[in-house]
Amino acid sequence: MVRRTSQIFSPWVIQDIHAKSDLGRYRIRGFSSFQDVTHFDDLTFLSTGLTRFPLEGYKEQCNTQTVIGSLNAKNPLILDTPIYITGMSYGALSVNAKTALGKAASLVGTASCTGDGGMLPSERKASNKLIYQVLPSRYGFNPHHLKKAQAIEIVVGQGAKPGTGGMLMGIKVLDNISEMRDLPKGIDQRSPARHPDWLGPDDLAMKIEQLREATNWTVPIHVKLGACRVSDDVKLAAKAGADAIVVDSMLAGTGASSEILLDHSGIPTVPAIVLAREALREIGLNGKVHLIASGGIRSGADAAKALALGADAVAIGLSALIALNCNREIPGSNFMKEMGVPAGECSHCHTGKCPVGIATQDENLTKRLDPDEGAERVANFLNAMTMEMSLLTRSLGKGDVHSLEPEDLAALTIEASAMAQVPLVGTNKIFGQS
C-alpha cells in the first residue's frame, strides 16, 4: 500500500511541534541550517575547449597566494592559500580543537581566528597568523592580546544567528571558561547582540579608528556581517573604513544557535557574495576592500566558485571540524549511545558531550582529540582544497585563483542563475536581469 502524508506537516514538523510543546521554549542546536537552498553545487565551471587552452596540472604554476587588508594596514595578511579558518570560540570548542586548528593553519601558511571568549594562549602559540575577534560580548577582551594579533575582526553578526549574540549552554561554562569570560559558572550564556560602545555605522567608523590607533595602523581590520541586507551593510562597513568584509551566510555553522534563526534568517552564500561584490563596485571599492565569504564551504570547488563570484578569500568552520573527525566514529566514541544519533547525523555541539573531543569542555572527552594528529588532518584537508582550486583554475586556462571570474561559471538551475547572475546552462540567459 502507498500511504500519502501531509506536505506541510512532514514527520520532521510533527516532531518539532511535539518537542516545543514539551519544552515550552525555542529549540537550540549546533552545526548549520537544515534548509535546502541554492548553493555552489548549483553552479558549474566552463573549463577550456577550443576557445582557450588549459594549463598543465602539477607542471605549470597556479598562484594561490592571497593578500587581505592592504588598503590601510602596514602589514596586510599574506596567506599561502585563499582559505583560512574562521573564528570559533574556545568554549564552543575544546582547547585541543582550538590548538589543532591554529597549528593546521600555520602548517599551510594561512590564518586562524579566535572567537567569542578571548584569545587562548595555546592557540596564540600555535597560530602564526591569528585574527582577533572584537565581539559584542567582549568576553576576555584584552588590549595586550589585540596588539599581538595579525588582524582584527569586528563581529557585527554571524550567518547562523544574525541579529543575536553568541550562545553557550551552562554545561560548557566550566571553571576556565567562566573565568576567561567573567561569567558565573554554569550559566546559560547569551551574549549581547549589540556592541557596548557603538551602535550605528558612524560610530563604527570611530571604533575602527580606535583599533587602528591602538595597533599603530599595522594590521587589517575586518568587519564580519551575517548576510541579510548585504548590499547596504557592505557599503556601510566599507564606508566606515573596513579593510576587509566577511560575509557569513545563512548556511554558516555554529556551536549553538536557536534553530529558528539557523533555518529562517539570512540569505545563502551565492547571492551574498554577488550582492557584496556589486555593493563594493558601486562605491568604487571593489578589489580595494577585500571580500571574504563564509558559510557552507566544503571543498576546493566551493572555494573556487566563491572566488569566481567575487570573493578574495573564504573562511571555513564546520568543514575544518569535520576534518578533525566531527561526525566520525573513532576509537572510544559511540555516537548512538552518547548523542542518540549515528555518526553523520550529529548536530549537538551545544550539549558539550561531543564524542570526538571537539565541541566539549569535558576533560575526558577532550582527550579523544590529539591536537597534533588533528592539526595534520586539517592541514591535509586545507592542502587538498587548495589543490582542488588550482586544478579547476588550470582547467580554465588560468594561472592564478584570483583570476577566476563569473564568466567562468554557468548555473544549473534558474534560481542559481538569478542568484549568481551567470547564464543558465544551455542558454545565454541570466535570470533576474531586467
Binding site: N142, K147, P196, G340, K353
Partner: protein
C-alpha cells in the same frame, strides 16, 4: 611634564607623539584636544597623562596602567575596556562610559549618559552626578557608584557586580532587584568617595541581579542527559 599642543596635529600624529613620550617615561599634558576622538588609546604602561579640554569618542580607552586626568567633557565610551589604571573626568561623560571595563577606576565629575558601565567586567565606576538609562546593562562584575539619580532600566540583565545609587531610581531593569547594602559596603563606598573629594551624605541603595535569567528554564532530552 611635557606639553603637546594638539591644535595642529592629526589624531595619528598626536598619538604617535604621546606614545613616544610615554615610552620615554615622561608625564604628558595635552592641550587643545578640541573634542577629537581616539586620543590616548592602547597605552599599556603606568604613566601620567593630563588633558586640558574636552575629548570625543573612545578617549582613554584600551588602557592598562595609566592615570589620565581630563579637565573637560568626554564623548562616548570613555575608558572602554580599561584593564587597570585611573581615569578622572572633571565634567560630563557621554554614553557607554566604562563600557566593558575589566579593572581600574573611572571617576566622572558630573553626569554620565546612557549605558554607563555597560558589559562591565571589573573595576569601579564612580559618577558624582546622575547616570542615564540602562546603567550597568549586562554588567558582569565590578562596582558602579552613582551619587545622583539613575534613568530607566538600571541593572538590566546584569550577572554579578553591584550598582549603588545615592539618588532616585527611575526604574529597575529586567532581572535587577534592590538589596540592602551592608555597613562594610557603605564604609567602602565612603572611602572611595572621600578619595575622590566627594562630600555629602547619601543614602545608597544597592542593585544586584535576581539571577532569574541565568538559565533557560527547560532542557531538551540530550541536554538533560548531559548534566
Amino acid at each position: 611634564m611635557v606639553s603637546i599642543d594638539a591644535a595642529q596635529l592629526s589624531t595619528r600624529e598626536l598619538n604617535i607623539k604621546l606614545n613616544a613620550l610615554v615610552e620615554d617615561n615622561q608625564d604628558v599634558k595635552i592641550i587643545n584636544p578640541r573634542a577629537r576622538h581616539n586620543v590616548v588609546v592602547g597605552i599599556l604602561k603606568k604613566c601620567q597623562i593630563t588633558v586640558e579640554g574636552s575629548l570625543g569618542y573612545y578617549c582613554a580607552s584600551l588602557l592598562d596602567g595609566p592615570t589620565v586626568c581630563i579637565e573637560g567633557n568626554s564623548g562616548w565610551a570613555l575608558g572602554e575596556n580599561l584593564m587597570n589604571g585611573v581615569i578622572r573626568l572633571s565634567k560630563d561623560a557621554g554614553a557607554s562610559v566604562g563600557a566593558s571595563m575589566r579593572g581600574g577606576e573611572i571617576f566622572v565629575g558630573r553626569n554620565a549618559g546612557a549605558r554607563a558601565g555597560i558589559s562591565m567586567k571589573g573595576g569601579t565606576l564612580i559618577i558624582k552626578g546622575n547616570a542615564g538609562f540602562l546603567t550597568g546593562f549586562m554588567m558582569q562584575k565590578g562596582t558602579i557608584i552613582v551619587c545622583g539619580d539613575v534613568g530607566d532600566a538600571v541593572g538590566d540583565s546584569m550577572y554579578e557586580g553591584v550598582i549603588y545609587v545615592g539618588g532616585k531610581i527611575t526604574s529597575l531593569g529586567n532581572d535587577a532587584k534592590i538589596a540592602n547594602p551592608t555597613q562594610t559596603e557603605l564604609s567602602v563606598i565612603d572611602k572611595k568617595l572621600k578619595k575622590n573629594n566627594i562630600a555629602g551624605s547619601y543614602k545608597f541603595k544597592k542593585i544586584i541581579s535576581e539571577k532569574k535569567l541565568y538559565h533557560f528554564d527547560k532542557l531538551e532530552r540530550l541536554e538533560k542527559s548531559a548534566i
